[in-house]
Amino acid sequence: MVEIGVGSVGIVVIVSVFLGAVVTVQTAYQLTTPLISKSIIGSIAANSIILELAPTVTVLILAGKIGSNIASELGTMRISEQIDALEIMGVHSSAYLVLPKILASTLMIPLLVIISAFLSIYAGMWVGEFTGAVTKEDFMTGAIQYWIPFMANFALIKATTFGFIISSVSSYYGYYTEGGALEVGRSATRAVVVCCVLILLFDYILAQLLL
């Protein structure tokens, strides 16, 4: 729980700040006509952040970190017979090892996504102000004016789904590792690739179903 949550805050901060900054600058770059109010930049940036950047792009990066972490931990336990040792004691090893990871990841990733969304919007706002593209006030006006509460729910539904995908897929690949250290690395890579593809697929499915 701590490992998955707190351990990922650093990378989430870095990714979110840059995503927020970039999306603001690029939106401002595209909106050059004086006919549209500047506050629309805030609205577009906030919408893209909440709908896609925070829950999907950030989570794709988390899939790399958390997914490989889980897969290599379980893979190492498998090849060094630690999972066998649990089984021999009469412990149900998959339940004992995997369930807490799925629980932690399904709870912590939405939390990280919320942090990410706030940071991104905040960073976008300040970048707008610094570059003179849009004032803080205009940015926030736009962000709030076009705010649809369902977007937040949608982002959380996505984040929870992705959290479950990351932990279950990487646990599966880690738990069923066979061979030696090389295979542990291979399991971790495979876990991350499969997680990313599934996240993108479910991103589409959820958008299609819920929007």
Partner: protein, 261 residues
Amino acid sequence: MIEVKNLNKSFGAKQILKGISAVFEPGKCNLIIGASGSGKTVLMKSIVGLIPVNNGSIIYNHDTDFLNIDDAGRKELRKQIGMLFQGSALFDSLTVEKNVIFPLNMFTNMTFKEKMSRVNECLERVNLKEANKLYPNELSGGMKKRVGIARAIVMNPKYLFCDEPNSGLDPQTSIVIDKLIKDITDDYKITTIVNTHDMNSVMEIGDYVLFLYKGEKFWEGSRNEIMNATNQQLNDFIFAGRFFREIKEQNTKRLSEEKNK
């Protein structure tokens, strides 16, 4: 007591265990010996159910058919099994103490104090006193083995499995470990199965010895019979080292001299 009958196991097209039958009696140190790659680890893991076999039967305690047992029964039985793995298999995120206390935490209602005294008792039995707070990666290979044994015996198992308990140990510690395994077996009348290719262990504790050759049982008997066994493969295995070869030669010489007199 554990009885295996006609155990077969293949990985793909490669047959590793070829119709193994044996009876491992309680209160005895049952040894499985054989060259590297002969299938000792596969046999041991098959007996405890970590490797699914192709066919055959494994009977614990006369009436428990291990291959046709439900999950609950298997779990119950496994609480009576202690196993030392060839690579020790310590949980590397836990200290020595936490490794040994782990089964007690999972399956007993003892107080923390009772558990700790049991843990320290087991660690003392394997001659490890000042390592409680160390992590597995801070231990030598032999120390890991000993922690593995302590963890295997902490629940007072009825069945003790040791996969090469003294490979990688110095001769002195090896003897201590052999003696420990023997004492535990005698004291609690448990069924002990030990994989080894150490001839010293064989002569020291081999109440029953099963010799595996390329996945087949080539010979069985006690340590007293082994010196005079006529099986070619067994002799090649035992007398590969000079020490035992010389003993054997002296033995034959003495016998023939006695005959000549």
